[in-house]
Symmetry: C2
């Protein structure tokens, strides 16, 4: 394994010298400068290195202690970094035969460099070493975020914490917590306690937990900012405070998914008094400069039906609901400005009346990003980074906030701060959310950190597979929960037959899963084959790759290894049906297993002919095509992912 090719995100400049710095139990690290969070960070990296190598390092904690003059790795920095946009995160890492030096302007830059250092660890016949290297690195974008929806499905503290750890590993620096929704208000309010008491089913972060999250992230150089989505997406608020609503209550916590008509009443002074007090309380919990007010998907229907609101609009000369929301947003802006917060909102808030110091969060298309930056608004991109939609990592990876062919001037480009991977949680639970976030978000992290010229998809996938395992080492559950979910599906029996099938399935993509005849509620089970199945499955992707190679050069060796796979897949059906016999939850995907068997048998015949330069009969081709077309059908809200490659091969 060439470790020099396993760095992710790819640094700006790297050159390997061929030297080796040997690791042994005497290895020590020291910092030069006072930063207790950097000392803790370095101690964690040091212990990871010990855990990974099994070397019994004897140093207790990394520090700037004078007793550490024998340390073979020194970490220098000039000042404590601030958790602000455009803070310096650059670092230089030099490793030679004698040791390692990491230099940065800020302790945050040093943290980024420590992650690169850990990725460098290599081994040969003499043991573990750090390869000699010169790295100069800094991020391309200053805003490299993950949005986590902890509302639609509740995501408890440990989900947040392990994702912060993973973000740090991928040099991401913003955690956006989506904290209120129709399905739940997820943070304790002491000012308006009925928000969490009546609007969360008991599932919310205490204020102590929020402080813990903010501190935990800050110690890793990660900003945390909240989103309170107003005036729509607010049913959970109205359960405890129906007087905020645009129609009379009572309201109850929403169990269904989708866009609702409920909205705060933007015409009552009480609404602004309430939001003023609440946001003051929340602003104190989240020290970040930014505050997200959502602002998306307001249908306006509850406004249309309310005579008082209609009267208000007439009196104020407000023409339509868009203008009414702009009126609302300006009042909120006033509240946030007094709290010294900058407003962020989904691109619906991008309206001419808004001042230039808001941030537009583009989700509906890159168009709003371009327009906003041209008009001098700061903006961040999430369109193309919706990881809940089960698209492949390659799709997100190539989604550049500033593509090479951009028409934006350099001055305009400066308004594009970066982007955020966006994890909406309709169809995920704490059990499988990791597999929807990781490893694909690592590809987004690289897009936002590395130079725009780094965009070789194959190379990204090669590194992503390795990083995926390192993410697990850091605490992410995307790998280990997969087999656990399969064990439940198999009722504790051998998972081999179910794994063989589910490795080839992906959940339905974009929003189609909601339109497949099943009504998902927040209380539904999310434990079926489609929920265990991971996005961007490796085996179908690699089979497609083999087909593409074969189609381009006609060399059968690309396809040859897959013959054994088709044999296994064909044979799997009997074992799978036996298992489904005793584990009824699997029965909904038996048709996939059956189609896989049929396709496999025909493919074996087809590939056998190709191998021997034979020509498949028209009948075989037609049968194969027909079976593939019918195998495109979804079962159990999952798709059989080898079908497109088979169709491509025979077309």
């Amino acid at each position: 394994m060439e470790k020099d090719k396993l760095l992710m995100p790819v640094p700006k400049e790297v050159s390997f010298t061929g030297e080796k710095f040997r690791l042994d139990p005497s290895f020590m690290m020291r910092t030069a400068g006072k930063s207790s969070r950097l000392n803790s960070y370095a101690t964690r990296i040091y212990r990871s290195l010990s855990d990974r190598t099994g070397l019994f390092f004897l140093q207790d904690n990394v520090s700037d202690s004078d007793t550490l003059t024998n340390a073979k790795m020194t970490i220098r920095f000039d000042r404590t970094g601030e958790l602000k946009v455009n803070e310096n995160e650059a670092y230089e890492l030099k490793a030679g035969k004698e040791g390692v030096t990491l230099t940065a302007k800020t302790d945050i830059g040093a943290m980024r460099g420590l992650e690169t250092f850990l990725q460098l660890v290599s081994a040969d016949k003499d043991g573990y070493y750090i390869p000699g290297v010169m790295i100069k690195d800094e991020p391309r974008f200053t805003w490299r975020g993950l949005m986590l929806d902890v509302c639609r499905h509740w995501m408890p503290l440990d989900v947040v914490i392990r994702n912060i750890d993973a973000m740090a590993m991928m040099k991401m620096n913003v955690l956006h917590l989506h904290l209120s929704e129709d399905q739940g208000f997820r943070v304790e309010s002491k000012v308006y306690p009925k928000l969490h008491e009546m609007g969360s089913d008991g599932n919310y972060f205490t204020q102590d937990q929020i402080k813990y999250i903010v501190k935990y992230a800050a110690e890793r150089g990660i900003r945390v900012y909240p989103e309170f989505d107003v005036p729509g997406h607010s049913v959970a608020w109205l359960v405890g405070y129906p007087e905020l609503g645009s129609r009379p209550g009572p309201y109850k916590i929403e169990r269904r998914w989708g866009i609702r008509d409920e909205a705060l009443d933007p015409t009552k002074e009480f609404t602004y008094e309430f939001l003023g007090n609440l946001f003051k309380e929340m602003a104190a919990l989240f020290p970040d400069d930014y505050f997200h007010i959502g602002g998306d998907e307001v249908t306006g229907k509850d406004w249309d039906k309310n005579p008082d609101i209609q009267k208000f609009m007439k009196e104020k000369g407000i023409k339509d609901n868009h203008e009414l929301q702009a009126h609302f947003n300006l009042r909120i802006l006033d509240i946030l400005t007094k709290l010294n917060k900058k407003m962020v909102g989904w691109d619906e808030i991008f309206q001419p009346v808004m001042p230039k110091d808001i941030v537009i969060h583009s989700w509906r298309g890159i168009k709003s990003l371009v327009e906003a930056s041209q008009k001098g608004y700061y903006c961040i991109l999430s369109n193309g980074y919706y990881i809940d939609l089960i698209q492949p990592a390659s799709f997100h990876y190539l989604n550049d906030p500033i593509p090479a062919d951009t028409k934006l001037t350099p001055a305009e480009q400066k308004y594009i701060l970066g982007g955020e991977a966006t994890m909406w949680s309709e169809l995920v639970t704490p059990e499988n959310v990791d597999s929807r976030i990781w490893p694909r978000t690592a590809a987004i992290a690289e897009r936002l950190w590395s130079p725009g010229s780094v965009k070789d998809v194959d190379d990204m996938y090669r590194r992503l597979e390795y990083i995926s395992f390192r993410l697990e080492e850091r605490g992410v559950k995307h790998i280990k929960n997969y087999e656990m979910m399969l064990r439940r599906l198999a009722g504790g029996r051998d998972i081999a037959p179910v794994k063989m099938l589910v490795d080839l399935l992906e959940p339905m993509k974009i929003y189609t899963r909601h339109r497949d005849g099943v009504t998902y509620l927040s209380i539904s089970p999310y434990t079926r084959a489609a929920d265990a199945a991971r996005p961007d499955q490796k085996i179908p992707r690699e089979f497609m790759k083999a087909v593409e190679k074969y189609k381009s050069d006609g060399n059968f060796t690309h396809l040859e290894p897959w013959m054994a796979m088709f044999e296994l897949w064909g044979d799997n059906h009997a074992a799978f049906t036996d298992l489904a016999e005793v584990s009824p939850v699997l029965r909904e995907v038996v048709p996939h297993s059956e189609n896989l068997k049929k396709i496999s048998e025909m493919m074996l015949e087809y590939l056998g002919l190709l191998q021997n330069n034979g020509k498949p009969s028209k009948e075989l081709l037609e049968n194969l095509k027909k079976t593939c077309e019918s195998a495109k059908k979804t079962y159990g809200q999952a798709e059989l992912m080898i079908v497109p490659a088979v169709l491509k091969l025979i077309e």
Copy 2:
């Protein structure tokens, strides 16, 4: 799979009727009586059932609502249970074609019954069902505990929480938290904040977290009581408060394992003032009736060296350190009595001067348990339940607090309240602690719940394997973290070769691992093969079983299936050494792999001869024996577990 034989712990009375109650999406549950914690408990069981079956149950929450008259399962109870010794935990569960009824005296009994209900879920060609059954059940012992040492290695909140969940599943009802040690003081004290600030490396439970743990456990019918180990095992206290010590400070947090000479000074009034204030604070955090003061392993050496202490002893006529500790214990008893707490201590505190209302926690041998109960002291057993010592489940399972041949009178037996599985944490981290606790503790749980006549080891193992997977479903990480640790050992490569070997390894047992030439500190890596390897490995156990069967009836069919295994094991060596080549952390167990290969090759020859009624040559037998004897050697603090069975076979 015969579900009727998968219940664990085995109920007191069970009879199956042959009827089936069908589960479908319309299934609803209701309670009759007010207990919000029971409603929540039942809701969790209901959702588990939905998750397991994939059935889209539509009921929002289980409750005693009038709208639930169509519910097919009713849960009745007379009163809210108290978290007290000897509380009623009995229940009756009846399932017939038309539905399920669960009846109990207390809501805690109903919780125990709900766990049995969930274990009953079965499937046939028509889907999921609950088999018709009549169960009458109650526990044999009232104290069925798990002690968790969160000190030697810090065990954060999520470790505690998932173990509470697992305990509830196994009908256990006491969590004993060992909260202070030489290596750490693990709970926030507002009265003496230097305890946690200076004595924990920042790793401690906040008081809010303790309240959360206590509440979380109470909602599952589980008591939580604390242990503050005094006067020994107290180095971490002395870091912040050296004035409590028996010699002048400064002290620092201990990184080594073993028994230390440091101890609180039992002659200073300050010590009792301090403990009085601290225990008052802690007693308020833990509402349980009991309070554990440790009291074990006081060497007395720091007392011997202190002239003031010697003078005090002379003045008071205290003859030796045992008497001095008894003096100390009586003072502590006085403090606890005023706080309305009953004292629990390790069996060192069992001294004639102590009054009868203390509880003796037997750890050094069952002798103290017998003596204590004969003298009218209440007592609990942990000797034989030391799960950190890597002994097989069968050993713990057959360790009965009141064996069938007991000499104790029924009146004396009443003083034996039960027992606790004891998880000391020198050699475990949050990553592998689950695999040391579970599933073996389920065998202990059954010992303490089920009738003493339930003691078929083979049947226990059969059920344990199934329960092990259900424990994972409940959140325990003993299965999934195993492969994760193997992935780290393999550096992200295919784990097959390392799994094949490590499946046959166990860490060294009892206290031998500390005497194998390696000095383990709290900061050492616990990520090596011996740390991934699980206790009581299934494959070597089953091979031993096959050998025993063959030895008893001479039927070769018991051994025949193992020939394929020896073939695989022999072949594995090449792959394993290739992997160790690139992953140096594995090199320490290469000799095990090599021995496995040698033994496998000879075993194939040997078994081939047996199969064909041939006679192994003397040379082969001697070689095999010699190789086995040398393969008994430990490498990487791990043992190759198939060796004893091979030796048994050829002897």
